[in-house]
Every structure is written in C-alpha cells, then in structure tokens.
C-alpha cells in the first residue's frame, strides 16, 4: 500500500534558523507530490506541489521542496523561519486521491 512518512513529528526552531522537513513515500510509479500547512485552528492550505520537470519547486511564503526520485523523497525547506511559520506541515502523495503523512508540528520561538 502507498504510504507517506514524515519522520520529524515535532520540530522546535528559533527565528531565522533554517528548516528542513523530511518526507518519504513508498509508491514507485509516477507521483504528484504536495506540501500543505495548517495554522492553529485553521484548515489545510497548499504550500507547493510537484507534478513533473524541475525537481526543485518553489512555493508560497519562501518555502521550497526538492523531489529526489532515487530516494523517494520530497523534503520541504525554508532558509530562515519566522514565528508566523508555527504550524503543522503535511506531506501528501497523489495516486487515486491524496494520501497524507502524519504531519510535523513546527514551533518557532521568537
């Protein structure tokens, strides 16, 4: 069965630190990959998506992700986090429908 793994469950960073959140998936075919963010008390919002082409994808709010096919990975990065980035981040893979990872809670301390 297709699965999505997010190994970091809770990450605590100080403002201006760099961020990298891991995402690995198990499906071997063509995939569409996504990162969503959920701010406290809100619904999920799309950060970025990968369909094909350039494996480095840029999204909103300064986030980017790199698709590495050989590693089945789609890690999310941001060079310098802000307090407002405190949220839960979900990686997702689409085949029939989106399958989500269990999420990574990011806490940014001022």
């Amino acid at each position: 069965a297709q699965s999505v793994s997010q190994h970091n469950h809770h990450v605590i960073l100080s403002e201006a630190a760099s961020l990298e959140l891991g995402c690995n998936y198990s499906y071997g075919g063509t995939v569409n990959l996504f990162w969503y963010v959920q701010y406290p008390g809100q619904h999920l919002q799309l950060l970025l998506k990968y369909f094909s082409g350039d494996p480095l994808v840029k999204g909103i709010k300064g986030f980017e992700a790199e698709f590495i096919k050989s590693k089945f990975s789609f890690n999310l990065r941001k060079p310098s986090v802000q307090w407002s980035d405190t949220a839960e981040y979900f990686c997702a893979v689409r085949r029939r429908a989106l399958t989500f990872g269990s999420g990574t809670r990011l806490q940014v301390q001022p």
């Binding site: 996504f34 619904h43 999920l44 799309l46 979900f90 689409r94 429908a97 989106l98 399958t99 989500f100």
Partner: protein, 112 residues
C-alpha cells in the same frame, strides 16, 4: 474560503445516533473528498466522489457512507456514531484530480 462550506462546524452527539455532515461547494468542481484528522495520523481518506452519484471508498470507510445527488453537495453519514469517530472532518474539492485540493474549515464531531 474558495467556495466550500462545511456544516455544522461543531457537533456533539451520543453513541448510536445517526449523524450527517454536509459539504457544499460553489466552484462546480468534479471531485469531492471526505477526510478525518486525528492526532498522530494526519488526514485519512474516508470516501471520495468523482461525479454525481459516483463515489468510492477510502482507507477508513468502515462505519461511514456518502451520497452525492448534486454536483455541489457531498454528504457524509455516520449511521450509528461511535466514540472512535470523534474527530475533525474535512471536506476537500478539486477541479482536476491531480491538482491540489481546496479544503473546507472542518467539522469537529464529538461522540459521547
């Protein structure tokens, strides 16, 4: 938000009672989805629809049924609610399946 509304926003119900959650969209998108969100599990797909009267099961469909009689409405029914169905339920829509989804604001359901 992007023409998708979930109702009710909050509901408390007793074990064994039927519950229906509604998702309404004004975007005329073909695809609609129901997910539940639980701590440590992320979002898990319950059911989805790829057109009027066309639905399919997701990974956690037991105890749930759905109906879609109109493009704009996708109903999720818990025939006999159990405490394990206490969760936050999110509806999502997409115009083309491979595109990203737009999510509703969620329904927080508590079964006591």
């Amino acid at each position: 938000d992007a023409g998708i509304t979930q109702s009710p926003r909050h509901k408390v119900t007793e074990t064994g009672t039927p519950v229906t959650l509604r998702c309404h969209q004004t975007e005329n998108h073909r695809y609609m989805y129901w997910y539940r969100q639980d701590p440590g599990h992320g979002l898990r797909l319950i059911h989805y629809s790829y057109g009027v009267k066309d639905t399919d099961k997701g990974e956690v469909s037991d105890g749930y049924s759905v109906s879609r009689s109109k493009t704009e409405d996708f109903l999720l029914t818990l025939e006999s609610a159990t405490s394990s169905q206490t969760s936050v339920y999110f509806c999502a829509i997409s115009e083309v399946q491979r595109y990203g989804y737009t999510f509703g604001s969620g329904t927080r359901l508590t079964v006591v």
